[in-house]
């Protein structure tokens, strides 16, 4: 058995069906290492800012190009045998898409799979009738080789509560492998029938950082006009009291009701740096109450105030609701990634956020907590939206490799051998999405921040997370 595996296969698998083995499927086919064998990493396209006032240039963006795999296959045997082998090789090269499986040491180093594109412009050389035919190929492939699928999480239950549960409004992943980040395939299901219907789900991401408590209980903050602590009988995080209530008894106009302070966990003052969507979990005592709200934070000699969100709430003892108050950056002024060439990140001050609320009409305004959804790596919002009177989709799929979202039954089994079990919804399957799907970064802790917009604090969602690691050419054994 050849130690170097180089063959066209049908699937990404440890034991795929082989469509054409280019290295010693028999004595007639040999990968010719006497000629070029080049599977070097792809080139990058880069954008620099340069000028005559500073040396060099600043890299402002970069992305990988497609790559070209160069190799030569030598075919031997009778003319008939060589012609047949040549036909099979051409057939594989001319496929719109194909897979080349590669490992430098079978059984020792895990294989990777290059996703190739139609590349039948090879060089064909034969010198004698009885001698070998040499087919020098230049095969265009996607930038990264794909590894065998990793099932990172199966049925991980995420509670819609940042303070409790095995996975409190988040999922952590470690041990991600690969040379570059990989787009995962995620299936989200709800244990409750109809639990995904018209209930947008926020999924933010932060990787390789010191994490901090990115929510603050409203009842522990500094309270302002017409606002006091309050204890909700259920469906609120925290102890007693567990919420705040703004009565608007003296002022309905837009004004500060609450101030919270975010501090870095464990003293890592770099942890707070970043961008966030400011969410707050709110409710009301009167159906149809309409409010306006915004965040405000000190900036320089003045306040920086975010966009005003207007929303109408219903009295609902079960569902409080997350309201998105838009983007906030911290620190608000430029701070270097490192101080000089010291390699030391600067400390970032605590973050102070005031929530201004105005009552347009209706009753009291209740708040459970303020939540900072990280928004500087990946953040998406998906919603199994439907006007159907039924329960909507039972499973949401975030298909990172295809950059798609879609839906199906809650029993959807994405990798089942029976296609019927992989059926996607047609009529109600639309799963609108805005933002970037999460991406798994190797070698560091990946944290996904997950909130349901309208659900109880006891509500859970189940996550299946799979990914195919991305390698430049050689997988880690």
């Amino acid at each position: 058995m050849a130690t170097v595996v180089w063959k066209f296969v049908s699937t990404i698998s440890a034991t795929p069906a082989v469509t054409f083995d280019m290295n010693r499927q028999n004595a007639s086919v040999v990968l010719n290492f006497g000629e070029t064998f080049d599977i070097s990493p792809p080139a990058k396209k880069r954008s620099f800012t340069t000028n005559s006032m500073t040396d060099g240039g600043l890299l402002t963006s970069s992305a990988y190009e497609n790559r070209v795999l160069e190799f030569t296959v030598s075919l031997q045997g009778s003319l008939t045998e060589k012609a047949a082998l040549h036909r099979e090789l051409k057939k594989q090269l001319s496929q719109d898409r194909n897979l080349i499986m590669y490992t430098p040491k079978a059984g020792v180093i895990n294989p990777v799979f290059f996703r190739t594109m139609k590349s039948d412009d090879y060089s064909f050389t034969h010198k004698t009738e009885g001698g070998p035919w040499h087919v020098a190929c230049k095969v265009i492939a996607e930038p990264f080789a794909i590894g065998i699928r990793v099932d990172q999480a199966l049925g991980a239950s995420v509670t819609n509560n940042p303070t409790s549960g095995a996975n409190p409004a988040r999922l952590d992943f470690t041990g991600i492998i690969g040379d570059v980040p990989s787009p995962p395939l995620v299936k989200i299901t709800s244990p409750v029938t109809g639990g995904l219907k018209n209930n947008p789900v926020y999924i933010g991401q932060r990787t390789g950082r010191t994490f901090f408590d990115n929510w603050k209980q409203a009842e522990l903050g500094t309270l302002y006009t017409d606002t006091s602590t309050w204890t909700a009988g259920s469906n609120a995080t925290g102890g007693t009291p567990n919420m705040i209530v703004t009565t608007f008894a003296t002022a309905t106009a837009m004004g500060g009701r609450l101030r919270v302070q975010f501090v870095p966990t464990g003293g890592d003052r770099d942890a707070l740096r970043g961008r966030y969507r400011v969410l707050m979990r709110v409710g009301t005592g009167t159906t149809g109450s309409t409010f306006k709200a915004r965040w405000a934070t000190p900036g320089g000699n003045n306040w920086i105030r975010g966009r005003v969100a207007q929303f109408t709430l219903n009295l609902d003892t079960v569902q409080q609701k997350h309201i998105d108050l838009g983007m906030l950056a911290h620190p608000p002024y430029q701070a270097p990634a490192e101080i000089g060439y010291s390699g030391l990140a600067p400390g970032i001050e605590d973050m102070w956020i005031t929530i201004d609320v105005e009552r347009v009409n209706g009753g009291n305004f209740n708040m459970d907590y303020v939540y900072l959804m990280p928004a500087d790596e990946r953040l998406c919002v998906v919603s199994a939206a439907t006007t159907d009177a039924g329960d909507g989709v039972g499973a949401i799929v975030l298909d990172g490799p295809n950059d798609m979202t879609y839906g199906g039954e809650s029993t959807l089994n994405l990798f089942d051998t029976a296609v019927a079990n992989r059926s996607l919804y047609a009529a109600y399957g639309l799963v609108p999405r805005i933002g970037g799907l999460p991406i798994l970064v190797p070698g560091v802790t990946n944290r996904w921040y997950i909130l349901q917009e309208s659900a109880a604090v006891t509500s859970t969602l189940n996550f299946d997370v799979h990914y195919w690691p991305r390698w430049l050419e050689v997988a880690t054994p």
């Binding site: 963006s61 961008r275 105030r305 928004a375 500087d376 933002g435």
Partner: protein, 771 residues
Amino acid sequence: MIDTGIPLGVRMYDLKDGVDIHLTRWVDDFSFRHTAPGGCASATIKFRVPDGSNVDPQMFGSLYYRIQIFDKRSAEVLWEGRVEDPATQVAEDAWELGVLGGQVATTDVNMPVLYIDNTVAQWRTISDYEEIETGSDDKNNVLTAKVKSGYSWSAGQDAEIAEYNGAYACLSGIARIASTHKGTYLGGQGGNFQITLYQTGSFPTLLDTTTLNTGGVYKANVVGTDFTSGQISQDIILTIQRRTGTGTYQLPASEEGLAWVQWPKVIGMRHDEIGNSLVAASNYANDWVNVHQVVRDVVGRFLAGGWWTGTLNHWNSIAFSAKSYWAYPEQGSIRGTDAFIDSSDVHKITNLWWDQAVNAKDILNTLMEVQTNAYWAVWPSDHRFEQTVFDDILIRESQFRFVWARWPVSWNYLVSAEDGMEQQISGEGMYNAAAMSYDDDNSYTTGTLYANPRVTVFGSTVPWEVEEVGSRFTRLKHFTYPGGVIPAGFSGVEAEDYVRESMAAVQNPVNVGTITVRRPIQMRDDGSSDGNGFAGMVDPWELRPGKIVKIRDIFPHNNIGDMYWDSGITRTLNVNNGFESGTTGWGSAGGTFIQASDQKFAGSFAGKITPTGAAADTYIATAWALMTAFETYKAGAWVRCAVARSITIRIDFYNISGGFISNVSTTTSVAANTWTYIEVVAKAPLNAWQGPSLIVMSGTPAASNVMWVDEYYYQQIEIAPRGHENSMFRVAATEYNTADNSCKLELDELPRWDLSTQVVKGSGSGNLRTR
């Protein structure tokens, strides 16, 4: 952190058709453009559908599908528009989509509209009887009815004299009508005749009667007070009527009567920003409309669905289940619920109507002629899947966000020379321009046009119509004497200077080139001007127009040699400078301080203080003002004393804790009963934070030392233009290109100084000039 190239995504969606496709991997590099005014402007997206992708690319060619360009890191939508021009390119096997940004929504609906009509152009005069001769005076805006001799009037008999047709012509309801009614002659029978005003059509209602009189009676009839929303109509009829119970009267030979209806002002019914009709009297309190009132209506009527039933909107009366119906189209392309509408402008629009179809864009552009520091923009819908329990989540998501914003007054973006500015600043483009009508007697007949390329020119009298919008539009800043926006006591030249100050905010900046940004830059925006604050580092694709960019390494004073300054630039710190509003804003000690009219330097009043005779010092003082260390302050006033004595004017400096630091004063000997100008100028010391100005009589003045003070101004002087303003520009448009990760900022030049902060005194020689 993740390094995966430029983190942008391209999404095509139309939830009604079940389309939600992320094209990110299929598109070529592209660019998208924003403008101010406007917001999202245009983009061209070229993409290729890969073989075997199992989709029919034809579905992407549908008109009006939405294209969103968003940031994958934050789900923030950067640009959004509608597919307007889909085309296939066979040679390249590609699709090229011309996409119009959200601003195109402002041209969707075209229809006439009436906000306010203060002309008689749309009044049709009627003569029920040949003995009545009706007419209208277009110059003076007066409707007349001449009642000839010989006609016999029975009690209660009336005759129509005029009918208003403007509301019909403009498809609007009438919410307020105001006019002045007069009449005379009729052989002393004027008291037995009256002018009546009816709303007719479906809701005939007598709104008003006014007995003929020679002095003129101003009448205003408003929805919610004088008639109900159920009585709203488009018809107004004026009649002359012999009052009931007064018997029959035949005008004898050689006797005539004349009735006037002067300066009629008809205000149309408006909407709020979500499309509901405004039917409360409080919405129509004046004979003018403000910019923000019109903007609200434009959003509600033209953009958010208020056009659905013309004057009465049904959107909010529809059960939310019905709103969920896919095909219900009338919710409009723009949502009003979170529209940001700046309401700071106080200009009074007295004439604004279109009897030909007009769209939101044209109206908003017209309003920018009034509120010259404002712009409109249509920004992306963002990722709103749901914000209210009543909204249909799928409909709401597709509505754009609207702003009527002010240009910021300080920088929002910091850039430097390394960002490559294509053109240096030039003072050649310095240009102030303003056109405004001028009203001092409520006649609305003439105005003064100020047009100022470099040097302010006064005095040309023009018709009050402003040329660029013909007879349908008047912008008017009311100047009334006294009171109004001109401080009491200002008149003549000083009033004119005040006008100039107001006008100074009217700038027509010129485009001066571009800056191309290819890196993250600092942004700071407190949100006060457009309701969307943010501070932090922003990437090139996040830059937007409607902001101020500062080039930090352009030497601050590089243009000062081109200019000179021949009058103080000041910012007034105190109020009620002429004591026309009582003693508001003033304090005193050591005497009795009152507003007095027995002596005054200007206006109708002065401040007067009579010493107790016992106090060591007798003084009046301004309120404490916030101060800045090392800045220069000036206090000046006209004073008069019943006796000859010395009077001191001074400025006191205190620190942030209220601790006294020092003061600077000037003492002047004034003659008895003589108005004398006194002044002190001082530089604030280190740690100065606050303090007042005082005028003091010291040395235990006797009660006879009565002192009057007038035109007391306490001001901060900005000695020279702030240098950094020389490197600040408005961003009029941005165009981001993924190919080289660059954003080109198209710049407008800012005025060198914030001219609106100037007070140019009548005795001064002028304003900012160039040489």
